[in-house]
Amino acid sequence: MPAPVVPMLNYFAYLFDGGHWSLAGEGIPDRLLQHIAYTLVTLAISAVIALPVGLFIGHTNRGAFLAINIGNAGRSLPTFGLLSLMVVLVGIGTLPVIVALVVLAVPPILASTYAGLRSVDRSAVDAAIGMGMRPIQVLFRAEVPMALPLIVSGLRSALLQVCATATVAAYVGLGGLGRLLIDGLSTNDYPQVFAGAVLVAVLAVLLDLLSAAVERAVVSPGVRERSVRRTRWRRARPDPTNEDAPTSPVGISG
């Protein structure tokens, strides 16, 4: 008598079922578009709030304490807790969820905009002033272009944060790809859960790659290789014009 065949759980059943890709009704395309819409709308609102404030604080260095601490506090706020709080306070609906997402997205943008402006080489700013730029010109023609790598990296981490938290927000009634996950979990429909997870992961990775491409397009090649690699210890680094050996040496480590 042959042993009974235990059917392997086909994780991809939901994802590869053509019926779920129908453009009509609440299929995958619809959920995907919803998710993208929530993410971009939230990011846009957050940027409109955080960028001017960050630029003001960074340019004038007034309220620096605020910028630094909002950045740290924002990171330690539990996203799910904030969503729950909003829903219990205001009730189920898209608006309270979007507000919660904005609250989470503002700190990284604000903090990195501030940090970006502060990282700008003072001598370049002094040169800009010395050449007769007005304060607003100094900000937009000198400081912002040089601060862009950090400003954009703040926007990118906010983007990922929003995309991920929008998934969680399905638990409190938001649409989007999170619905597949949450609804699947409540009905033990694992192929659906898996489909939701894969789709949201792919979406997040694509959004990140897309934003990396945008970063390359807007950041001047002259300031690209900055940020992390420049630390205080590099103050005393070799002067490249003074270097006889044009390539990295062999045998330096033994």
């Binding site: 330690s76 539990p78 219990v88 979990l185 033994g254």
Partner: protein, 214 residues
């Protein structure tokens, strides 16, 4: 609120306890894996870009998605705490591997050149010169990893294992603010305590960074 805390003390404490180890164990795993990985990317530079790219991709995957995908890849139950630990370890590793690599690369320069030229052997140079100099940057990465883990754990409550997140799901079910506020406050406090702890350790380990720069 006070009544709620008094009435549910045991549950709150056990949630907090679970939260602590669910968030900190992955940081430990991340550090243990990221140190050698970061070192290898410095030793063999061609590894740097693949490691950074992989880390970037892993880091961009939303946590909830990771919580349900991991059981499909490795044999852990979706509802097992181990699942959460593995997922958060993935994040910590993704973040820290890059930080370690960047920190070690950033200290390469005249000082490491001078060390080699004075007769340090590679391993002694790594432990005696490069790692100590890279500590401030690495500790900054450790702070980010720890704090974000602490805030992420509660998402696990959606699949049933989430430390203080348990208080959020309860509050939602009962439409009751007290547990949610207790959960948020404790989570933020825990993050602040761990963050300050790391800062203190860093001060103790790197006294030279406070030696008044000119």
């Amino acid at each position: 609120m006070i009544a709620y805390i008094q009435g549910n003390q045991a549950r709150i404490l056990s949630d907090l306890g679970q939260h602590v180890w669910l968030s900190l164990l992955p940081v430990l795993v991340g550090v243990v894996l990221a140190l050698p990985a970061g070192y290898l990317t410095v030793r063999y530079r061609w590894l740097y870009q693949p490691v950074v790219n992989l880390g970037g991709i892993l880091y961009s995957v939303p946590s909830l998605a990771l919580f349900v995908v991991i059981p499909a890849i490795i044999p852990v139950g979706t509802l097992s705490p181990l699942n959460i630990v593995v997922a958060l370890s993935v994040y910590s590793f993704a973040l820290l591997a890059r930080t370690v690599a960047d920190a070690l690369i950033s200290v390469q320069g005249e000082t490491t050149w001078a060390a080699a030229a004075m007769g340090f052997r590679p391993l002694r140079q790594l432990f005696g010169v490069e790692l100590p100099m890279a500590l401030p940057v690495m500790m900054a990465g450790l702070r980010v990893a720890t704090v974000s883990n602490i805030s992420l754990v509660s998402v696990g409550a959606i699949i049933g294992v989430g430390g203080l997140g348990d208080l959020f799901t309860r509050g939602l079910q009962l439409s009751y603010l007290a547990p949610i506020i207790v959960g948020i406050v404790l989570s933020v406090l825990l993050a602040a305590v761990c963050d300050s702890g790391i800062v203190l350790v860093q001060r103790w380990l790197t006294p030279w960074t406070r030696a008044g720069a000119r």
